[in-house]
Amino acid sequence: MNGPGVAAAPGASARRLPGEEGIWAFVLGDMLIFSLFFGTFLYYRNEQTELFLQSQLLLNKNYGAANTLLLLTSSWFVATALHMYRKQNTEWAARFLAAGFLCGLGFAVIKVTEFGEKFRAGITLNTNDFFMYYFMFTGIHFLHVLIGLGVLFFIRRTALQTPDGSGIRTLENGATFWHMVDLLWIVLFPLIYLLK
């Protein structure tokens, strides 16, 4: 899939890791912990499948789906922003980073709404095991989203302050973290909301 429009991304001849190794190590570590989450959820689901299926019916899939689309789109904005920044188009890079931020903010609003609805219905993380995992795992992911929003804010500022392209490493670090946040939800959503 070597599209002709692939911007000034590292050329095929020079293999290069975006950002720095440290952020990738962090991302891998985080993904390993989340894979433990995935495994734990499924393991205990096997022990109480009927309970999990019944409880899952109380979830709002539409919120989850909307959140998925928001994060996918925000990742597109962020990835594209990076391409623009590399082409010295700092203004548009900043705009797209802001757009990605807004999508993430939308995720946060929906999430808070969703949790609020559950609480008002008397459902908390102590209601049963399914909801314990639902709140804990999507809650910890939500924390990542909030941190990611801070990261996006920070790298947008960096982009504006470095129109000469010297901030590329910081931008790539931040983008990598944000894509991880997206990627984790891509698994979390079907696992908890959709799987029968």
Binding site: E20, E21, G22, I23, A25, F26, G29, D30, I33, L36, T40, Y44, L125, N126, D129, M132, M136, I140, L143
Partner: protein, 240 residues
């Protein structure tokens, strides 16, 4: 000058000593994993009544292990001071106070184990209460540790010198470690399952990572001290 570096090395190694004393003690006391938070008062009381000397020994030594933890923290702060140079010492100070706070847990929580075993014929409810107190504080006091790790991480990222005190990956490592500690802060909400104080995310991961973090940081600090000592003595020789 020699004495200064020797003591720094001693402090850095005290972290290793802490790990190699604490973990065997925890195993000796049968706290890996600890009795489940969903156990009844009588069962908990029985734990402490059988071989209460193990808990007296383990608890008493764990209380004193706090001293090892705080001088280890001091060794790290000295390195963060190097990174700060002439800038305000915010990283080294915040790391220091957080480390002291975190290590106080060994005194205020682990004394609970000693007290439980001190008079085993106490009412089971009282023993269960002290057991709860000990474990909730011991495993649930995560914010000082998190901020301590984050301070080290932030300091490492701020290091712009040509020969950084700590390698860059150490900054990300400390951020990851801080993230791993976080779930343990939620143990008050669970009496069973992986987030309780005997669960995967409440006990095994945070405690395991805690041990690994101390070992890794100890070696990083020792490496830094070695370089600084060599530089200092070389400068001294050059000045003569």
């Amino acid at each position: 000058m020699e004495m200064n570096y020797r003591f720094q090395q001693l402090c850095a190694c005290s972290g290793l000593a802490l790990v190699f004393i604490l973990f065997p003690l925890l195993i000796l006391m049968g706290f890996f994993p600890p009795p489940s938070p969903s156990e009844g008062a009588d069962a908990i009381a029985a734990h402490y009544a059988n071989d209460s000397w193990i808990f007296l020994l383990g608890g008493a030594v764990t209380i004193q292990v706090s001293a090892l933890g705080v001088i280890w923290t001091a060794a790290i702060s000295v390195q963060l001071r190097h990174i700060e140079g002439n800038l305000p010492p915010i990283f080294s100070l915040s790391q220091l106070v957080c480390g002291v706070l975190a290590n106080s847990v060994f005194i205020f929580a682990c004394a609970g184990w000693v007290v439980c075993a001190f008079r085993p014929d106490r009412a089971p409810e009282i023993i269960q209460t002290l057991n709860d107190w000990a474990f909730i504080i011991f495993l649930g006091t995560v914010s000082p540790l998190m901020v301590q790790a984050l301070s080290i991480g932030m300091a490492t990222f701020s290091d712009e010198s040509s020969e950084p005190v700590f390698p860059r990956w150490a900054g990300f490592f400390n951020c990851w470690v801080a993230a791993i500690f976080l779930p343990a802060g939620l143990i008050p909400f669970f009496k069973s399952g992986p987030f309780a104080w005997d669960g995967l995310f409440g006990l095994w991961l945070p405690v395991g990572v805690f041990g690994g973090w101390i070992v890794v940081m100890s070696f990083l600090v020792l490496g830094a001290i070695k370089r600084q000592k060599a530089d200092a003595f070389a400068a001294l020789a050059g000045a003569k």
